[in-house]
């Protein structure tokens, strides 16, 4: 064990898997950096430094800088995955999926089924998401619901450094296309993380708080906010369960249903827009399966239905806050029997 940042945890997972399996390669824009330039090699290690140090250790043959051609290199990674490599490709910001989504959802995601079970596509796409960086409408979105919608893609949202290392390792070892969503506001968050390699199985939620009054299901960075609210509400005599599903596909329906049955109340917290997101998905699941266990209507806390604004004054009210989450929990707890 040692203290590692979210960034270091991801880096270590990739490095250990590259050491273990020479078929694992990494590619992306400025993933090492300095390609063809006279100055420092490995100048960037990715735009926020996550892959720094991989190129010096594994060489340019396995750490490939790409031109700004997402369709070509994400598709290239899919093709390489289907033919024997295990690529970890970086789509710098998930907002850039618009440039290359065909290669992800029509190609990589479809191979296994469409080819009658004959194809294996061990592709990992790493991508940054989330607001809070003052990065405005085209660099801040939470597009994981779009990926979750597609059969043939697995989608993971690590909520801290421990989760990041385990889910990244699992993703690289997985034989299907996995998209890992890294919240850009979390890279410097630190905690104790094991030094040895370990995987966290997909589809197994983590119950981070256990309580009796209400269940909060939260995704990605929102798990931390939910934990904070749970801790602070203890003082008011409200006891909360917090569920981190870890992966939106596969989704651990069982844990969600069990914990909501126990508390009878549900608040779902999702940084994505309010329509067709993970919050609506979980709400539908609960009302379909355990409606009679509910003591109060389900409550969703999400970002509003507008693009992510630039101005800090606007972005701060855009992002779901602990205050909004707490208000939702209090409302739900105050209702019903």
């Amino acid at each position: 064990m040692s203290v590692k940042s979210y960034r270091q945890a991801l880096n270590e997972a990739i490095r250990q898997e590259m050491e273990r399996d020479e078929r694992v390669i990494v590619m992306g824009e400025d993933i090492a950096g300095g390609m063809g330039a006279p100055g420092e090699d490995d100048a960037w290690g990715g735009v926020l430094g996550v892959t720094k140090g991989l190129m010096p250790q594994f060489g340019r043959e396995r750490v490939l800088d790409t031109p700004i051609s997402e369709s070509a290199f994400i598709g290239c990674a899919a093709g390489a995955a289907a033919t024997g490599l295990r690529p970890v490709a970086e789509l710098m910001f998930v907002d850039f999926m618009g440039v290359c989504f065909d290669q992800i959802f029509n190609q990589a995601a479809k191979f296994r089924y469409m080819f009658g079970g004959k194809a294996v596509t061990p592709l990992v796409i790493r991508t940054m998401y989330g607001a809070g960086f003052r990065a405005a409408s085209q660099h801040s979105q939470c597009l994981y619901p779009l990926f979750t919608h597609i059969p043939g893609l697995k989608v993971a949202l690590p909520s801290n450094a421990y989760e990041a290392k385990g889910l990244m390792t699992q993703a690289i070892r997985d034989d299907d296309p996995v998209v890992i969503f890294e919240h850009k506001a979390m890279y410097d968050e630190e905690m104790e993380v094991p030094d040895e390699a370990y995987g966290i199985p997909f589809g197994e939620a983590n119950v981070t708080r256990e309580g009796d009054d209400v269940t909060m299901v939260a995704f990605g960075r929102m798990v931390n906010l939910a934990n904070e609210v749970a801790d602070s509400l203890k003082g008011s005599g409200i006891s909360c369960t917090v569920v981190d599903p870890r992966t939106t596909s596969p989704l651990d329906e069982e844990t969600i249903l069990e914990t909501v049955s126990e508390t009878g109340r549900l608040v779902v917290i999702d940084e994505a827009h309010p329509r067709c997101n993970m919050a609506t998905d979980v709400s539908a699941l609960v009302s379909q399966e355990i409606f009679s266990d509910l003591k109060a209507p389900v409550k969703m806390v999400t970002a509003p239905h507008c693009p992510v604004p630039f101005s800090p004054a606007l972005e701060d009210v855009y992002i779901p806050s602990t205050a909004k989450i707490e208000a939702a929990v209090r409302e739900v707890v105050g209702k019903g029997h």
Partner: protein, 321 residues
Amino acid sequence: MQLNRDDLKEAYRRMCLIRDFEDKVHDEFAAGNIPGFVHLYAGEEASAVGVCMHLEDRDAIASTHRGHGHCIAKGCDAEGMMSEIYGKKDGLCGGKGGSMHIADLSKGMLGANGIVGGGPPLICGAALTAKTLKTGGVAIAFLGDGASNQGTTLESYNLAKIWNLPAIFVVEDNRYAESTASAWSVAGTQTKRAEGFGMPGTEVDGHDFFAVWEVAREAIERARNGEGPSLIHVKLNRYYGHFEGDAITYKGDGEVDKVKAEQDCLKLFKQRVVETSLLEPDELNEIETSVKSYIDQCAATATNGSSPTEADLMTDVYLSY
């Protein structure tokens, strides 16, 4: 068409405006007064101004993440731009867009763009509008060397050519996309690429305002005359990092200093117009002084402006839930 004294003064004023604007944003960002991602255009002024000196409001441009220079060259209000970059309510986009999304459609400025390669297809659209409505307008995509490798860019070349659109693609090759050298990332050459799509492609020294102005004149004339698209490969250098905060370790020692000393577009312009007696040094100095105080005023306005409030969050949407 020739540049008269007023044109020259206007060109110099716009180039100085861009330089001082960017220097100010650089300082203010370093002081922690500006949030977000900021990409500065300093060093590249002759390209935006050399091209946009030919344009009117009916002509459209699309820009990039490095958009401040294009905005100023196309006539966007610098004070409104500065306020936008500070995230203030009086900003050109109400503080909703920020540095990467400044736009003013009334000036034919279709926006800076956070998506590399986002502009060229839009410019095909603006060119199609001009052609269909017979406005006589042209549409110009500014794009970087990095963006020249994006599929959207190459598809746009093809579309512009087969539809014979009044479109011009200005590839601003500042030798790097982030930390990656264009000498490595671009296969073939920009002008051969143009040739491959059957359109004229010209390489030009982007430190030389007059060279850019002349090449742009020809391309714009062709487009206005219904003779279709062109590509201009502008070779230049950026002075600051890819974004503010970039340590620029990938460049060679003294690389930028050498350009600043020998190829600075403002210095070259000044030298040329003074040596040829087109303008007096006093006239140029006067422009420099007035631009400086105007930029100070822009920053003061932006600093003192008020932020948008929660009530502004859900305006400009047509549906809310």
